[in-house]
Homo-oligomer: 217 residues x 3
C-alpha cells in the first residue's frame, strides 16, 4: 500500500474516505447512465464499478502498485453497490437524469484529480508526471463508462470544460505537495474549486478553443 | 508464474488446458464477429487475440503477475491462430453466425470465470475480491471485442443473463476454494453449470430488473 | 529502466529519439482526428497523449516495467504538446486532413513496431512473444485513439494493410535481434520498409482476404 512516511496518519484515513466518496460519485454517474440507456440492473452495477474504480485502477497499474487499492481493500466494493442500489430505488433521481449525472460526475472529478495526484506523488512519481496521473485518475473512469456504453465521452463534449478543471486541480495539488503545503484543508479547498470550476464552466457554456484555430466557425 | 503450493500438479496442468480452451472459445467468438462484420482476415486474427487473451491479461495486470500468462507462454498463441483459421475455412459456421457465436462465447465465459477466480486466489487475492477478478476475466475479453468492433457489449444485451452466470461461477469457485473443495471435478461441474445457466437464460429470455425500478415499462 | 547490457549506449539514445518521434507522429494523428471531428483543443491534447503514449504504456504494463517509460521520463510530455500546438496553428494540415493523418499514422506505426519489439526483447521477453508486443505497441495507440473518438479503428479499414506491415516489421526486428544483427542501420531500414509497405498498400488498395473465405463477395 501507498503511504507517505512524513504524512500524519489522519491524512491517509481522510484520503481513503475521500477516495471512496469519489468512487461513489462516479459509480452513481455510471448507474445513472445505465438508467438513461435503459440497461438492466447488472449493466448498472457493471458501469458503477467501471466508472468508480476505472480511474484509480489504471493509475495504480501505471505507478506499479503491488495490487491496485481497489482490489486490495474490500471497502471499495461498497460504493458501487450502494450507487447501483440508490439508482435502482430511484433515490438519486427526480426525472432529471442528465443534470444529476453532471453533478455527481463533477464531484467525482474534483475528488479524484486531487487524490490521484497525491497517490502518485506518495508513490514517488515526479511532480510533473503526477499531474498527468492525477488528470488520468479523474477522467479515465468516466471515459471508460462512456466508451463502453457507446456514448461520446464527456471529455469531448464542447458544452463546458472538463479536463481543464482536472488539470487545474492536479497541478495545484502537485504544487502544494512540492511546497509541503498539502494537507486536509488545502486538499479540500482544491476539490471545492475544481467542483465549482466544472459546474460554472458548464452553466456558463465556457468553451475551449477549437483543435485547429479558426475551424468550425 | 502462479502456483498454489498445496495444489497437486495435475490441477495446474488441467487448468492450463482449460484456460487455453477458454481462450480458444473466446477467440472463435472474436473471429466470428469479424466474419459477421465483414472485416478482413487480419481483423479476424486481431479480434481473436483480443477476445481470447484480453480477460486474462487484464486480470494478470491487476494481480501484478511478473508478465501475464499469455505473454510468458507461447502456447497461448495457438488458440487465437487456430480460431481465425477455423473461421476462415468456414469450419465453425453453417450460416448461423449469431447462434454459433453465442455458444462459443458462453463456453469461454464458463471456463474463464472459474480459471480466473482460481488464478486470483492462487496469487493470494482475498476470496471476495477474487470473485470480482473472476467475473472480470470472464467478461473483459468479450467486452474489448465488442467495444473495439463498435458493437453494443453483450453484457448490456437484455436478451438473457450474462454477468449473473459469471458471478455465480466465480462466487461458487471462491467458496469451494475457501472450503478446500476446489478440484478438477468441482471445477468442471461449476463450469458446466455456468454454461447451462447462460444458455438457458438466453433461450428463456430471462431478464434482470431495470437499472431504475419501474422504468421502461 | 530498460537497458540491454550488451548494446552500445548510442543505440539506447537513438531508440529514445526514435521512440519520441513515434510518439510525435501518433500524437499528430490524434490531434488531426480531433480537428476533423471538430473537437476542442483539450480533446486534441487528450487524443495526442492517448495516441502517442497508449501503445508504449500498454506494452510497458505487460512487460511489467517498474513505471512505464512515458511516465518516468518528462521528455515524453513534449511530443504530444507539440503535436497539439502544430495542429492548432494549422502547421501540419493544408485542408487534406485525411491524407496527412494517414502519413503520420504510418510513420508512427513504422517506428513503434520496431522500438516496441526491441523494448520487449531488451526486457527479456521471448522473441516470438516480443513480436506480438511490437505489433501491439504499433497498433494500440491508434486503436485507443479511434475507439475513444468513436471511429472505426484503422486496423479494420479494408482500404490497404495496417497490421501486416507492423507484423512484418516486428518479425524482422525480432529476427535481427536473435541473429545479433539489430543496430541503428538495420533498425532504420526496417522502419523505412514498414512505412513504405503501409503507404504502398494503401495507394494500391491491397486487401487482405476476408475473415471467412468467400464471404462478402
Amino acid at each position: 500500500m501507498i503511504s507517505a512516511p512524513e504524512a500524519p496518519a489522519y491524512l491517509d484515513t481522510l484520503l481513503l474516505v475521500l477516495d471512496l466518496l469519489g468512487v461513489f460519485f462516479f459509480a452513481v454517474s455510471g448507474s445513472l447512465l445505465a438508467a438513461r440507456r435503459q440497461f438492466d440492473l447488472i449493466g448498472s452495477v457493471f458501469l458503477a464499478f467501471l466508472a468508480g474504480l476505472g480511474g484509480g485502477v489504471v493509475r495504480d497499474l501505471i505507478i506499479n502498485e503491488d495490487v491496485p487499492h481497489a482490489f486490495a481493500n474490500p471497502l471499495y466494493l461498497i460504493p458501487p453497490a450502494l450507487a447501483a442500489a440508490l439508482v435502482y430505488f430511484r433515490l438519486v433521481t427526480q426525472g432529471r437524469l442528465r443534470r444529476t449525472l453532471l453533478v455527481f460526475d463533477a464531484a467525482g472529478l474534483a475528488l479524484f484529480c486531487v487524490t490521484g495526484t497525491r497517490t502518485a506523488l506518495a508513490a514517488g512519481i515526479e511532480p510533473i508526471m503526477a499531474i498527468l496521473l492525477g488528470v488520468a485518475t479523474g477522467v479515465v473512469g468516466g471515459l471508460l463508462r462512456d466508451v463502453v456504453a457507446n456514448e461520446v465521452p464527456e471529455i469531448f463534449n464542447r458544452h463546458g470544460l472538463y479536463a481543464v478543471p482536472a488539470l487545474f486541480g492536479a497541478g495545484l495539488s502537485s504544487l502544494l505537495w512540492t511546497l509541503d503545503l498539502f494537507n486536509w484543508l488545502t486538499a479540500a479547498l482544491v476539490m471545492l474549486a475544481v467542483f465549482a470550476f466544472r459546474l460554472v464552466s458548464f452553466r456558463m457554456r465556457w468553451m475551449a478553443p477549437n483543435a485547429a484555430r479558426g475551424s468550425g466557425s
